[in-house]
């Protein structure tokens, strides 16, 4: 991919709530010699619609995403769940449409950020934007959907200026689950409380994840508790220069 190009699928949460994550990714990739573009008029991958069972509507959103990224050589996504949606659900959703083939091709060209860096570009050495101890939470879709637990850890353990400490129960859900978080807020919050207790037990300064949903949930819990731990996206950490 070096010397070539990638399109950023910034995702709805990334676009609206965490624009600095997108900015970091653009800078990171550019520093690695990748030409980055951002196809205009992006909205959302449709996962919230799909997960709540509104599949015809999700297919409508999938259709426009497939068209938007039709010419992209590679598509980089900052969230494991959105990458999962494109890679695993788009082909099925659009199977009986004119975009069936395009959906399968897009699925193959779409990568979650940590996977692009480690598995596509083969780059694992970065300088941290944050000093201190960091700990890593496995987002469910990235871990159990895309079977990725190594790449983010490789990047974090090699990260200059930061020390990676293990998070007890790192592979357990943070309780976000999209609309689950507001349909059953008490259950969602209790799952979160357990997660954050584990985070605090590590003594980390920074909690890292590769999914905007988990970061919204865990970050929202941490600031509410006035914790000293910051929740950051992997891209923000890696963007410390190289």
């Amino acid at each position: 991919m070096t010397g070539r190009s990638a399109s950023l699928m910034v995702t709805c949460l990334g676009d609206l709530f965490f624009p600095e994550v997108g900015v970091s990714i653009v800078r990171l990739l550019r520093r690695l010699g990748v030409a980055v573009d951002v196809p205009a008029d992006q909205t959302c991958c449709g996962l919230p619609l799909f997960n709540s069972g509104y599949h015809a509507d999700a297919a409508g959103v999938a259709r426009r995403t497939v068209e938007l990224f039709g010419d992209s050589e590679h598509v980089v996504v900052p969230s494991g769940s959105c990458a999962w949606m494109v890679k695993h659900e788009y082909p099925g959703l659009l199977a009986d449409t004119t975009l069936a083939r395009a959906a399968v091709e897009l699925a193959a060209r779409t990568h979650e950020l940590s996977q692009v860096l480690v598995r596509v570009l083969g780059v694992t050495e970065f300088t941290s934007a944050v000093r201190g101890r960091v700990t890593y939470h496995d987002s469910c879709h990235l871990l159990r959907g895309l079977h990725e637990s190594e790449s983010p850890r490789t990047l974090l353990s090699n990260l200059e200026g930061a020390e990676l400490v293990p998070l007890p129960g790192a592979d357990e859900c943070c309780g976000f689950g999209g609309s689950f978080a507001v349909r059953l807020p008490e259950v969602s919050s209790k799952i979160l409380a357990k997660k954050l207790a584990n985070v605090e037990s590590t003594g980390a300064d920074c909690l890292v994840a590769c999914d905007a949903g988990c970061l919204m949930q865990m970050g929202g819990g941490l600031t509410r508790a006035k914790s000293r731990v910051r929740a950051l996206h992997l891209a923000e950490l890696l963007d410390g220069g190289r």
Binding site: V10, C12, D15, L16, F17, F18, P19, V21, G22, V23, V26, V38, A40, D41, Q42, T43, C44, P48, L49, N51, S52, G53, Y54, H55, D57, A58, G60, V61, R64, C140, H141, L143, R144, G145, D171, E172, C173, G175, F176, G177, G178, S179, F180, V182, R183, L184, P185, E186, V187, S188, S189, K190, I191, L192, M216, G219, G220, G221, T223, R224
Partner: protein
């Protein structure tokens, strides 16, 4: 759970469960223990992964020709001198068993642990017919004394602490009991020995039934299953039709992974094989053996959306790892089968309207599918159930409208941009130092315990459109 209890919305039932300190203590201890034991069992069993695939393949192949395998099973059980009954519904199953009890003059029935008999609410029917049912699995015995229902597929009394069990024994058995598991087990053992000797009827479930030999297989840890199937004059085994496996070779594949998934044991302490009634020259076994095959909505799913759930071995692994189950326990779900697989089974047995809210009782984290010994894709089927609930307009209209609006917005970038701008204006009274602490309506459900990030002053796409530095 009674209709009155089910009238309480699921969210409230879950809320009450989370406020129950005893339940929370018991759940945390037990599920954490089960998770660790299962992990260790498979870590030291490299063949495990391939056997899981094989087990699933056997289940799939068996479902393809379920009628043939059932016919073979029926033929072999009858050849061995047993009687086979087919029940399309729970009510039919109950009346078949009550009739057997009446005809044989049974006054007391000892039972080994069986989710199928829980499913058909057999104990109430037996009591109404003047037959006293006695649960002999320790966990089932405890909840029968407490007049409760199982809250876990393999550990029915998982919601109770040892202290609570000691209090229960002291109160119900009228003898002092200490909160020591071994002492409590000895008390139960003493009580149950008498019952085994008195009972006329033994009722069991079946973990498997081997078609080619007519063998009903029970996987247990306490030995009570063996007593139930051999001491009383009459033995009735109740099983869902999907429990049939073609051969003993197939059975071995399941036995190799079942106990590891359930309790982390290599094998359960007892694997009992029952072949018909006592034959001439045999010293033990019942005079009569009956096998009740239960449909109860299963057959309809062979080519239905819940087909995969017919592969379930009832090991309970998905409950132990489920973040929702671990917080709320089994009773809050409200039906016989709790946890992630329980939602699917409830939909199968009770229909989609029963799971309108339960279908959303999952963050779709996928831990269940990972733990399932036969790799049932539970999250995907939960999504399919949500789809059915939406399509059939079982979901509340307000929710359906909200998602239609969201869909319209996500398909129109100009509307999406407008919504971002509107959100920025609307959030001003609520945003404090870069966080939103309190919002009205549905978003208030979020902000009660968590801050929400505000819509950024400039979205990424707005920055990309105007910042030359960023685009360069």
């Amino acid at each position: 759970m009674s209709d009155a209890e089910l009238a309480t919305p699921f969210r409230q039932r879950a809320g009450s469960a989370m406020k129950d300190a005893f339940l929370q203590e018991a759940l945390t201890i037990a599920t954490t223990k089960f998770i660790g034991l299962r992990r260790e069992a498979f870590a030291s069993f490299p063949e495990g992964e391939a056997l899981r695939d094989q087990a699933r393949a056997i289940k799939e192949a068996t479902l393809q020709r379920l009628d043939q395998h059932l016919e073979t099973l029926i033929g072999n059980v009858e050849r061995l001198g047993g009687h086979v009954h087919y029940a399309e519904t729970s009510a039919e199953a109950r009346s078949i068993i009550v009739d057997i009890a009446k005809r044989t003059g049974a006054r007391m029935a000892v039972k080994s642990k069986s989710m199928a008999t829980e499913e058909i609410h057999l104990n109430e029917a037996l009591e109404a017919a003047g037959v006293t049912p006695v649960e002999t699995d320790l966990g089932e015995y405890i909840i029968q004394l407490a007049h409760e229902r199982p809250s876990h597929i393999i550990a029915p009394a998982i919601h109770k602490t040892k202290g609570q069990v000691a209090e229960l024994f002291t109160r119900e058995l009228k003898r002092p009991a200490e909160p020591d598991p071994e002492a409590l087990t000895l008390i139960a053992r003493g009580e149950l020995r008498e019952k085994f000797l008195q009972a006329d009827l033994g009722i069991s479930g079946a973990n498997f039934a081997v078609a080619e030999t007519g063998t009903v297989v029970l996987v247990t840890n306490e030995g009570n299953g063996r007593m139930v199937t051999s001491m009383p004059r009459v033995h009735v085994a109740v099983m869902g039709v999907e429990k049939v496996v073609p051969s003993f070779t197939d059975l071995m594949v399941f036995l190799a992974i079942l106990a590891k998934s359930a309790t982390g044991q290599k094998l359960s302490v007892y694997t009992s094989m029952v072949q018909g009634p006592r034959r001439a020259g045999e010293l033990e076994g019942p005079d009569e053996f009956h096998l009740v095959l239960l449909d109860g909505g299963r057959i309809a799913q062979i080519d239905g959306p819940l087909r995969e759930a017919l592969s379930c071995l009832r090991c309970g692994a998905c409950l132990n790892v489920c973040p929702v189950y671990r917080q709320i326990g089994g009773h809050a779900y409200g039906y016989t089968y709790p946890g992630p697989i329980g939602i699917l089974l409830t939909a199968m047995l009770e229909g989609a309207p029963a799971v309108r809210d339960l279908a959303h009782a999952s963050s779709l984290c996928g831990a269940c599918a990972d733990a399932c010994p036969v790799r049932i894709d539970i999250p995907h089927m939960l999504i399919e159930l949500r789809r059915e609930v939406d399509d059939r307009k079982i979901a509340p209209w307000s929710e359906r409208v909200a998602f239609k609006l969201l869909a319209g917005l996500l398909r129109r970038p100009w509307l999406y941009r407008l919504a971002a701008r509107a959100g920025r204006i609307a959030q001003t009274p609520f945003a404090r130092s870069g966080r939103i602490g309190r919002l009205p309506l549905v978003l208030g459900e979020w902000t009660r315990t968590r801050d929400l990030p505000p819509v950024a002053p400039r979205t990424f796409q707005e920055r990309w459109a105007t910042d030359r530095d960023l685009r360069a």
